[in-house]
């Protein structure tokens, strides 16, 4: 039987190949056949759905749909009331009094109260919870660090339940992006009863070992295969949610995604550069958004040659970023204009990047001149300047690295070795300071320039290049305490100019973009730099 099938298939296949199929552009891809469910590709398994411990984008996607926090982001990444109906902010910008709605409900039937937030924030600030992202809570909340260090009791932490539905939060510094922070997974509430019944070790490991309070419930979770979410009818805003079921697949192969989409097994997936071209040739319109990811070179300022600012500037100036984005990446990524991407909010309801302008130039000739000067200052010859570039071992990263290598060769006449490494090995090399130049990326934690800039202060754990500038450290420290948003932004721009143009311990390459294809069936889905997938802002299934 099977043989006949295979044979028949092979014959049919031969026919297909010989008679090329041509199809019209209109309604090319109607999407999956299910009437009440959309299927999208999320690429990876959500490894941690315990909101205390989670760090990654995939888990964030599921938690955003299944958990309600104090605020939630709308389709433009602006925080909107969620469980907190309203709030009052103190004069100095450090104390928030939040008034919670009374119809929030956990999936185990309990009401969501202010105490659930207090419990969660206390738990995440305990060292034994070992939360990799906990610092975003306890370093911002008043006395949080002392509680974490064990020098203060958790009752002294700046989060208090005034009554069941009033929460008072005190921050260490005035934080302009506080409402945005409240929508972040680390600030979600936690149902104490469920957490203690299930046990910290088992909590959120399977679909039935997590208690949620959001618009969707986890109906099915087959690890490393798919997660299916089902609309939660008890959610206070259920009337506004129109898609009954969402299935997230975890596909690993680029071609497979394309094939599945074209065969109507998938409603949305991310595209590679070549696939964008292919769809463009078919006349099928694809979509894209800037995901606020920033990719850059980090120079090890302790390496001879790279300790010279002119050499570092020259290495950056030698690379044609426009050509990189147009000819190599081809996915809508933008040439970097600084370390902070274009999608980040700034003061006075404008984008930060508008105030900053462009800090990055491409000039191969000037690069060469700077390079010569720098070498002379460092007392080296071009032959002695032997460095290598560490990069990820993905096909895309290796391709880009080959491009940088060739650009350096053409502009500066030097050969930089490329050493591709698995992700963990690259990070270990960075941590150990065992690198010359590393090709690294950064994804924002919150919608503010600070998330990109505070990592280059002398003491910061992410400052792998060991860049150290008193001026820079002071600008960042002052900005953290500054209440006036415009003054604060000016300080940040000064710091960024120092970082990108003057001292150049990093060189920003591009702001990454995500291009994706959506079937005609799925309408109104939100995809932004802070919400990879969201179906709560009016997404519908087209009839």
């Amino acid at each position: 039987m099977r043989f006949k099938k295979v044979l028949a298939a092979a014959l049919a296949c031969a026919m297909v190949v010989s008679t090329a199929v041509t199809s019209s552009a209109a309604s090319l891809y109607p999407g999956t056949p299910d009437e009440d469910m959309v299927t999208i590709d999320m690429r990876a398994e959500p490894p941690e759905l315990n909101s205390l411990l989670t760090t990654d984008v995939a888990s964030g996607n599921i938690l955003r749909m299944t958990m309600a926090g104090l605020t939630k982001l709308d389709e433009n990444d602006i925080p909107q009331p969620d469980l907190a109906e309203s709030w009052d902010v103190s004069e100095d910008g450090t104390t928030y009094t939040l008034h919670l709605r009374e119809d929030g409900k956990w999936s185990n039937g309990e009401p969501v109260t202010a105490n659930d937030f207090v419990y969660a924030w206390h738990m995440i600030s305990k060292p034994e919870t070992a939360s990799a992202y906990g610092f975003i809570v306890y370093q911002n909340i008043k006395n949080g660090q002392a509680v974490f260090d064990g020098t203060m009791d958790e009752s002294e932490m700046g989060v208090k339940a005034i009554d069941d539905y009033t929460l008072e939060v005190q921050f260490e510094n005035p934080i302009p992006y506080a409402l945005h922070l409240f929508s972040f997974a680390s600030f979600y509430p936690l149902n104490q009863k469920a957490y203690e019944e299930i046990g910290a070790d088992k909590y959120a490991k399977e679909a039935d070992s997590i208690v949620t309070n959001g618009a969707y419930k986890i109906a099915e979770w087959v690890h490393d295969d798919h997660v299916t979410l089902e609309k939660n009818e008890e959610y206070y805003g259920a009337a506004d949610i129109s898609i009954p079921k969402v299935k997230y697949l975890m596909m690993k192969d680029t071609n497979a995604r394309m094939n599945a989409f074209k065969a109507g097994q998938l409603d949305c997936f991310n595209l590679s550069g070549e696939q964008i071209e292919q769809f463009a040739n078919e006349g099928f319109e694809t979509k894209a958004y800037v995901d606020n990811g920033n990719w850059y070179f980090q120079y090890n300022t302790k390496v001879k040659g790279l300790d010279n600012a002119k050499i570092r500037q020259a290495l950056g100036m030698a690379i044609d970023l426009q050509s990189l984005c147009d000819n190599v990446r081809k996915d809508g990524s933008l040439p970097a204009t600084g370390i902070v991407p274009t999608g980040i909010n700034g003061a006075e309801n404008k984008l930060y990047s508008e105030a900053r302008g462009n800090l990055v130039t491409y000039d191969a000739e000037q690069a060469k001149a700077l390079f010569e000067e720098g070498l002379a200052e460092a007392g080296m010859t071009a032959d002695e300047f032997k460095i290598s570039l560490i990069t990820d071992d993905t096909t895309q990263a290796q391709k880009e690295s080959a491009f940088y290598q060739e650009q350096w060769k053409q502009a500066l006449g030097i050969t930089v070795d490329i050493s591709p490494m698995p992700f963990k090995a690259r990070l270990q090399a960075m941590t150990d300071g065992d690198f010359d130049i590393v090709f690294a990326g950064w994804a924002p934690d919150y919608n503010d320039a600070m998330t990109y800039l505070d990592m280059f202060t002398t003491e910061n754990g992410n400052n792998y290049g060991k860049y150290s500038s008193e001026e820079y450290d002071k600008l960042i420290a002052d900005a953290m305490k500054e209440v006036d948003p415009v003054k604060r932004q000016d300080m940040l721009i000064q710091a960024e100019t120092l970082l990108v143009s003057t001292d150049a311990p990093v060189f920003p390459l591009y702001f990454s973009a995500v291009s994706y294809a959506v079937s005609d069936k799925l309408q109104g889905m939100t995809r932004t730099g802070f919400q990879e997938f969201d179906f709560q802002d009016g997404a519908t299934i087209a009839k």
Binding site: T254, N255, M258, S272, E274, Q275, E277, Q278, N281, S323, N327, V328, D392, D393, T394, T395, Q398, K399, S401, A402, F403, Q405, E406, D417, I418, S419, P420, M421, P422, A425
Partner: protein, 331 residues
């Protein structure tokens, strides 16, 4: 099949008849019994190697394979030297061009087109041939050397030595090589050397087993026992008697090992663990090609054809060699 026409025995044509028509007694000669002639081998003696060689020559498949492999090796050596392009030269403005694309700036033709970075695929294919073939051949030789020595010792001494040595082999082949390879790739610098080292560390076990098996069965044979009785040293017995007798198995196994290594190289490239950019190998090109084959099929077809052709040639040659060396299949 190899019979040669025997020369007819010369008959004396002089007249042996007298007038009366009788044959005189003088015409007869006492020949006697020539014991030497009785023992002589009239058919030319065909040595093992000669026989095998003749059989290979007769096999069209084997000859074609040898020619293809020869061309591949020559191409790998000379094509990159003769091409006007360098394997790492990029021209991103003309990326992903089709076959026979002519560069409008300098009029040079890219025979196989260009890849995603505008590099010439023709020269990269041949440069890749250098890398892939070097890795494959060196690994196969190392595997063979280690395997023969190890398997030979194990099989020859037998008993406890054999037991321990074979247990070690079992453990080594029990470790998925991926762990070792990934480990070495992360610890050492990417390059041909690391791939060779990584694969040889686990690859020799198959050969060791094979050689041991052969040695075990040969060890029981009379000529080895005779040599032992005459006081030959183990090294001499292994070197002089056993190795030549199992050479055919070894050669066949080498030709079959080479395609395996090419495969592993491709697999590693797929995991991103191949050779470092900007160098090329068939595995890397195939992996790059697979991600664009719906738009630019030639970028997959070309390296796939190279891999396929090489593997086919080595495999078919291996089969033919096996037939040629197998005394049981002599006709």
């Amino acid at each position: 099949m190899f019979k040669k026409k025997k020369k007819p025995i010369a008959v004396q044509q002089e007249s042996v008849y007298d007038v009366s028509g009788k044959i005189s007694a003088e015409a007869f000669e006492q020949v006697g019994v020539d014991t030497g002639a009785m023992e002589s081998i009239v058919r030319p003696s065909i040595s093992f190697w000669k026989d095998a060689f003749q059989r290979i020559k007769k096999s069209k498949v084997a000859v074609v394979c040898l020619i293809i492999l020869g061309l591949l090796i020559l191409g790998a050596i000379f094509a990159p030297m003769l091409s006007p392009f360098n394997y790492s030269d990029q021209n991103v403005a003309y990326s992903n061009q089709p076959m026979m694309f002519q560069d409008p700036n300098n009029g040079k033709t890219h025979l196989f087109g260009t890849d995603a970075l505008g590099r010439d695929i023709f020269v990269r294919s041949w440069y890749g041939a250098r890398v892939s073939l070097t890795v494959a051949i060196v690994v196969a030789l190392i595997d063979c050397l280690v395997g023969v020595v190890y398997g030979g010792i194990s099989g020859y001494f037998g008993g406890a030595v054999d037991n321990i040595m074979m247990r070690i082999v079992e453990v080594i082949s029990g470790i998925p090589y991926l762990i070792i390879v990934i480990l070495l790739m992360t610890v050492f610098e990417r390059g041909i050397g690391t791939i060779i080292l990584a694969y040889s560390l686990t690859g020799w076990t198959g050969m060791a087993r094979l050689v041991r098996g052969q040695v075990l069965s040969l060890g029981e044979q009379e000529f080895v026992i005779a040599a032992k009785t005459m006081g030959a040293k183990p090294s001499r017995i292994i070197g002089q008697h056993l190795v030549p007798n199992i050479l055919s198995v070894i050669i066949v196994n080498i030709t079959l090992d080479i395609p395996n290594v090419i495969f592993v190289e491709a697999f590693l490239s797929m995991l991103g663990l191949g050779i470092a950019p900007p160098q090329s190998s068939w595995g890397i090109m195939a992996n790059d090609g697979i991600s664009v084959f719906q738009s630019y099929p030639s970028q997959l077809v070309i390296p796939a054809l190279f891999i396929c052709l090489t593997m086919l040639s080595f495999n078919l040659l291996g089969d033919q060699l096996r037939d040629a060396f197998d005394p049981k299949l002599r006709r």
